[in-house]
């Protein structure tokens, strides 16, 4: 049964291989139609979404530069949570003293 199905499928493939669709009528003046469409596209310019896609690498480089800059030159974050909180409180108290509150 399975062998029969395989043979039938192979026969269909062999027959279809030789039966190419005749596309000669479609091919006539294809160059003319294509070049007209290409000129139309060039005249219309680049659509906004294509521009956005082209800007993606630029944005990616910008983000990378910012990340590198902030990692090297940004304020160092303390790993000690208590020190970070108390340093914040000191600044807050100093502000209060200076403003007379």
């Amino acid at each position: 049964m399975n062998k029969n199905a395989d043979e039938r499928l192979d026969r269909l493939f062999a027959a279809a291989r030789d039966a190419r669709v005749d596309t000669s009528a479609l091919e006539e003046h294809f160059e003319t139609r294509l070049m007209a469409r290409l000129r139309e596209r060039q005249k219309a310019g680049i659509p906004w979404y294509a521009l956005m896609w082209r800007m993606v690498p630029g944005f990616a480089v910008l983000v990378l530069l910012i990340a590198v800059y902030s990692a090297n030159y940004g304020p160092s974050s303390s790993g000690d949570l208590f020190a970070a909180i108390s340093s914040g409180q000191e600044e807050y108290l100093a502000g209060n003293v200076l403003s007379g509150e």
């Binding site: 493939f13 027959a15 279809a16 291989r17 039966a19 669709v21 596309t23 294509l34």
Partner: protein, 187 residues
């Protein structure tokens, strides 16, 4: 630009703004691309659409062609991708059609078909419409266009193992569909 010019010189001329050179490239390869598109398209309009898409993409990306493989190979890769996109679009538009609709189509085709080869092509086309886009691409390139697994892998960007699995699955589905149709015709 003489018609016998090499692909390389036509490509360079196109990149320097000579549209006529690109038209010569189109004339040189359109038969190959139309033949391939016709294996996947459901009608003449779709063949034209796929071919236009292929040559427009080729024109717009010609600068990225690296000359490490023949131009025909590069163009065929674009054609395979465009056909794959067309098949997926069609599947999304249509969803999964009912089996009965297809049986009608086959019976109509069978009545109209004059030659055995044409009938075989139409029966096969109907059965292939049941396949997933990826499976159809693989089985068409393998069985009808007679590419090797390695060549299909290069054309599609899928691994050779993946191509083999898809070809195997496609054959299983086609056998099931043809058997079911046979039983329905007998019953």
């Amino acid at each position: 630009m003489p018609e016998q010019s090499s692909d390389e010189s036509l490509i360079s001329a196109t990149l320097s703004g000579d549209e006529g050179a690109f038209a010569l490239l189109v004339t040189r390869y359109k038969r190959r691309i139309f033949g391939l598109a016709a294996r996947f398209a459901r009608d003449r309009d779709e063949v034209e659409d796929i071919c236009q898409e292929v040559f427009i993409k080729a024109f717009e990306n010609l600068a990225s062609f690296r000359h490490d493989a023949p131009f025909e190979h590069w163009l065929t890769r674009i054609a395979v991708r465009a056909s794959h996109d067309a098949l997926r679009r069609r599947r999304r538009e249509k969803g999964q059609s009912g089996f009965d609709d297809y049986v009608f189509e086959v019976r109509d085709y069978a009545a109209e078909a004059r030659h055995e080869a044409r009938q075989a092509r139409e029966v096969l086309q109907w059965a292939m419409s049941r396949l997933k886009a990826e499976e159809r691409i693989v089985i068409t390139l393998l069985e009808l266009e007679e590419y090797t697994v390695r060549e299909i892998s290069a054309l599609t960007g899928w691994s050779e193992a993946n191509v083999k699995v898809r070809a195997h699955r496609a054959r299983q589905v086609l056998k099931r569909v043809l058997e079911a149709n046979n039983e329905q015709e007998r019953g």
